[in-house]
Symmetry: C2
Subunit: 243 residues, 2 copies
């Protein structure tokens, strides 16, 4: 099973699935699938199924859901990443891809004091999210939100745990967070140049916990990817390394 | 302190440092440094110092070491990453940059059964390593090795701990590794399509430990970045998340 296909929820009716046109072309035109083959199809909202094709032309690929894929591929917590808009588009796109592969559910580009960009090429971004979801066999398509002022994100976030990544603030920094299964975590990463002290102070005042991830200065997208990998890896009980 | 400069060891003599020409141009031409300013300079072999300039023209920037930078910015273990050569150059370059920022010391591109590329643009790669070292304030410049057959790497690696990342092998998989301070760890990641069972078997026979990082299928460079971030984060006692 090397590929998953994506059919949004409105392409399902009862146990029947019709692949979108571009997915149909890929399945038949490129991968040479035909009637009788079983494909793994995800709906982007948490459902993954195995579908046996009963129609397979280059423009129409349809079939019946044989069974659900019950494997636990999604992480046990819902991670939202809020990140200062990144100036270089390719770095932002690297973040979108890696965050998706690693299991993030929501990505909120933040408009901050030091942000130098405020637009996203949405269609291109959506393509990256879909590819990474299929590649990683996830069943949730991460949602890329509209660029949001950091103060709005800080004030309105309803997540069970809220963490702002920032350089050392000494004893103020939290060193451990316990999460419940299915709880939500918001993780906020600054833009190039970091958050201002005012922005950090505002978050702390609204109950966000300060955390520092390591002594090296990381680019914004590297910090985000590293924090996501560490956190989701830890709650999934991946291999542990100690010293 | 937002920038570090790089002067290879042969640019130091006693406590005197002469910046290489391109670093000199950057220091004076772009950042407008002058006589009397103090710069942070790293030698790429573990030394970071503060240098007070006593000469500053666009082609010659020199000074005296005032003091060593004693902060612990390098990780407490030496990580080598062996990774199947990546077909897309930009993905390999993302790996070089992120591995450097996150603290890796050696990068060995592996020639494996499923590898589809066997050349690296060395000058370009070196530039990426140097930039990422300076950006992250590291003092070690990672070494990018020649492309190496996976069997050679498996057989000749002398690291204290050796881990091969691969999909679930059930009970064979290790779940915990204890490392000593200053010990060395080799981490091997497959190419697109993964290692063959023969390659995995060979590694296991040579004492490598199998590990799986999470249930999602990751691209090679994502798997490498995630494993590095998790491992170095854990041994540096970064914030802990539990469920």
């Amino acid at each position: 099973m090397t590929t998953s296909f994506y059919a949004p929820v409105d392409h399902f009716s009862d146990d029947r699935v019709v692949l979108p046109e571009d997915e149909a072309r890929h399945a038949v035109g490129v991968l040479r699938h035909g009637v009788g083959d079983v494909l793994r199809v995800v709906d982007g909202e948490g459902r993954a199924v195995f579908v046996r094709l009963d129609k397979a032309t280059k423009t129409a690929v349809e079939g019946i859901v044989e069974r659900e894929d019950e494997r636990e591929i999604e992480p046990p917590i819902r991670v939202t990443i809020g990140i200062g808009m990144i100036k270089h588009r390719s770095r932002f796109e690297t973040l979108l891809e890696k965050a998706t592969e690693l299991g993030v559910r929501d990505i909120v580009p933040l408009i901050t004091w030091r942000t130098e960009r405020d637009r996203i090429r949405e269609e291109r971004a959506e393509g990256i999210l879909v590819s990474a979801m299929k590649q990683s066999h996830r069943s949730w398509l991460p949602r890329l939100h509209e660029p949001t002022p950091v103060s709005t994100f800080v004030e309105t976030s309803q997540h069970d745990a809220r963490v702002i990544c920032h350089e050392a603030h000494g004893d103020e920094n939290a060193s451990e967070i316990r999460l419940r299964r299915d709880s939500s975590l918001a993780l906020m990463i600054g833009p190039e140049g970091g958050f201002t002290e005012d922005e950090v102070g505002d978050a702390v005042q609204h109950g966000w916990q300060l955390m520092q991830f390591g002594p090296r200065r990381l680019r914004a997208e590297t910090a985000a990817i590293a924090a996501i990998a560490s956190i989701i890896g830890a709650v999934e009980s991946q291999p542990r390394f100690t010293i």
